[in-house]
Symmetry: C2
Subunit: 489 residues, 2 copies
């Protein structure tokens, strides 16, 4: 296979698509905007799913499943919600095809029109809160801590594999609580679960903050977000958690009797991450040679390559190493293709982002050593066979940490504090603009004006930002603290 | 909660729905024919998924994901396939809603009509074989062993929770092979994987056989099936595996160059099981007190109930037991509700089908014993605390085996061999008809006539059926072996 990845410097977005395609992660499908997730890409998503699912369960959540379809009338119940989703949705209007009486193949049967159109879920708050009405009567039924793994559809016009697709896979948590405080706590807890997952598993550092009114989820009181920085200096919203207050409970009339026997509307949260995370993972770590994967999410963590090619002695050694590594929980494979040379295999394994490569050749083995190459630093060294398993296990941890540290450094190098609009514009004009901390007057008007002028949006008002008197970079109006701007995906 | 399950003898189908509802497994939704799978029901499905997924991976398969939507024209490519699925499908025709200019809420935007209608997948052969065209060029690309976990939609008119719903969850394997023999082997291998899963995990014995031409999957050369017998004497098709030959490869023009460098169409299989299995599980084991679950699939295997209610000493003992049981891999919970009495809890835990209940009371503990109740036999006994963990672990295996043995006995008791149509009719007229082995002349005409007269269908031509000269029960024409008839879900 010819390795011809467009370098990042030349064309970042071509580079991204090259990685996705050449590393066999995903492909466009015959259906506009919908992708096919190929086995290797799905293997990464499966590992993400498994880990997140464990974390959701540890925090007391259970899984359930709600219908794919939402009656059209449900969408309208929450006024902002319908604004947010009605403009780009897939609408089911009929339930039968028939042979074209004029001989033109199959056509929609006009007699099979649905009484009420169904929307393919863009998100499930409406159908779920309609259901919760039957499930909640008393404070004893609360909290309800439910998650679902599902596909959703938003009719996006400009799509990009993993980052923005018409259909995508995600999880959506939908919880119900007896008090406003509990709902707020839950929304923040799940933001922190996402942040922990991003940093500890994806090795992708994230800012934790709250969205401005303008960037909020349609129907939420507040949207909490984790924001990551990609290598082209653009931000990626990687996960959001919404405090929905009583909005959906009111729209779907979900009340409970509290401990004092008074009726009250239920408090809600929802939160989700999607296959977009795979895009974020790629853009955080990969390089011009291909994919770079953090060991904790890599479908294959270690590949063993026989040098120059497989033979009985090398196969036996490989089997032995594999058994020992597997016993330590390492996902290892043996590249025993007889037809390809080591150089080709090295390039292939780099392209696939396998964190560690062990080269086993008879001459090295005779000397008691083995070649260990790490993908993250593109470095290699000879290591004694004695203790090699321990070495590899530790190396995987080291690589995981190194990728995170490197991404943190990148973010630090691409984070700028500015006090004037001129400085602001100058940073955004850089090749790699990054996060820009600046004062803003708190109005949607100014926010939109800045977006129009610069394409930068407010990614979040960071949780850890200290109070600081300042003046809005655009209007000069007083501000009490900086917010984070960036161009974004 | 009032426990009022309709007894099976009184009304079997009410009994089934009572179990599904009262054990909190699933509910009807606001969308016609679509169900909500509640957390407890989803917990069972999750365990099924995890186990099947492991078995698929052990047999060399990987997961991937293909689009939810299928372009209408794809369905028509395989003539029998479109016949099979076009009559009941969800058709997406538009991609936007708008505010009704006449003030009637949101309506479909007539300007947002799709150029080609999209069908919500009823099964994915067409979109997948369209994709495989890009993935397969040479015999070196084969076999392709891919599975996907997905939701599918078939616009069923008469639905029943889990057993037949408009939307359901399933897995669908789609494999591509270089030879007809390999495809046949794969189809049979996956039938056997399903049979093993049904028998060893669901404790549900199944017949393995092949479908008649009339009952085949639309577009298959042969459909292999596993058929289980429910407690009302009706059969449930629990999983199917199809040898598709070159039909889909021809319809989507998927060729490969073989080792002799000649172009050939690719050979295919597909195979699937769905949330219908949860319905089969319920109907195989449950009784008039509620759900009965085999330990291997039970979300909770053991429940500890403090008698008469929780206190510090009992809580401490429960924690100790739980820790020890968890260390042995047992899923255990403690029913420490202060408000309910033991009798209520016993009934609740029976309803939920928890295989083993441990009652811990101070008086028993002082005597060094503990009350062990098993759900399958509705029996209880006092057991020494000493060694109780081993006892419970063994008991769970014993219950798993007992449920299977019981179901095998039930099937034996409800399997009849008949040689005349009179006998045949008499068996089918019984309250619990069961499987009927009879001779059939091999024609679709006779098969359909028998179905019309008796509502019984040929469930399969069993793999293990010996050759035997006989005469068709309807036409008297010669037959070489018996087939299995039954009324079916």
């Amino acid at each position: 296979m010819a390795k011809a990845i467009t370098p990042r410097e030349e064309n970042y977005s071509e580079w991204y698509l090259d990685i996705v395609k050449k590393a066999n992660l995903a492909a466009n499908s015959a259906v506009r905007g919908c992708m096919v997730i190929k086995p290797y890409g799905f293997g990464i998503w499966e590992r993400m799913q498994r880990q997140l699912d464990d974390m959701f369960k540890e925090t007391g959540h259970v899984n359930a499943y709600f219908p794919l379809f939402i009656p059209k009338s449900f969408l309208s119940r929450e006024a902002e919600h319908v604004e947010g989703f009605a403009k780009e949705c897939a609408v089911v209007t009929h339930h039968r095809l028939m042979n074209d009486p004029n001989g033109g193949g199959v056509v929609v049967d006009p007699t099979a029109k649905l009484e009420e159109e169904l929307i393919v879920r863009p998100t499930s708050e409406t159908i779920i809160w309609h259901t919760y009405r039957d499930w909640i009567t008393s404070y004893r039924d609360l909290p309800l801590l439910i998650n679902q793994w599902a596909n959703v559809v938003r009719w996006e016009l400009r799509t990009r594999l993993f980052l923005r697709t018409a259909e995508f896979l995600w999880q959506e948590g939908h919880t119900a609580h007896a008090t406003a405080e509990e709902a707020l706590e839950e929304a923040l807890r799940m933001q922190e679960v996402y942040a922990t997952f991003a940093e500890e598993y994806m090795a992708m550092p994230v800012l934790r903050g709250v969205k401005t009114a303008n960037e909020r989820f349609a129907g939420a009181l507040d949207t909490y977000t984790i924001e990551a920085l990609m290598q082209d200096g653009k931000a990626l919203q990687a996960g959001t958690s919404h405090n929905l207050g009583q909005n959906f409970a009111k729209a779907f009339d979900v009340k409970f009797s509290n401990a004092d026997n008074q009726e009250e509307y239920v408090y809600a949260t929802s939160w989700g991450v999607s296959t977009r995370l795979v895009g974020g993972l790629i853009m955080t770590h990969s390089d011009d040679e291909g994919l770079v994967l953090p060991p904790r999410l890599a479908p294959i963590q270690v590949v063993i390559v026989p040098i120059p090619k497989p033979n009985e002695a090398l196969n036996a050694k490989a089997r032995e190493l594999m058994d020992e590594l597997k016993a330590r929980g390492v996902r290892v494979s043996y590249d025993d293709d007889e037809k390809q040379r080591p150089g080709f295999k090295f390039a292939e394994n780099e392209l696939k982002g396998i964190p560690v490569r062990l080269g086993i050749g008879q001459r090295d083995l005779d000397k008691g050593t083995i070649e260990v190459a790490r993908r993250d630093e593109k470095s290699k060294s000879n290591q004694p066979i004695e203790g090699i398993v321990d070495h590899v296990v530790n190396l995987l941890d080291e690589i995981q940490q190194n990728l995170f540290d490197r991404a943190v450094r990148f973010r630090e190098e691409h984070t700028t504090y500015v006090d004037t609009f001129e400085e602001f514009q100058a940073v955004l004009d850089r090749d790699i603009p990054g996060f820009v901390y600046a004062h803003w007057d708190g109005t949607t008007e100014t926010e939109l004006k800045i977006k129009e002028m610069t394409k930068a949006t407010i990614r979040c008002i960071p949780h850890d930002q200290p109070e600081e008197e300042g003046k809005c970079i655009l209007t000069g109006a007083p501000s009490r603290g900086r917010v984070v701007f960036a161009k974004a995906y």
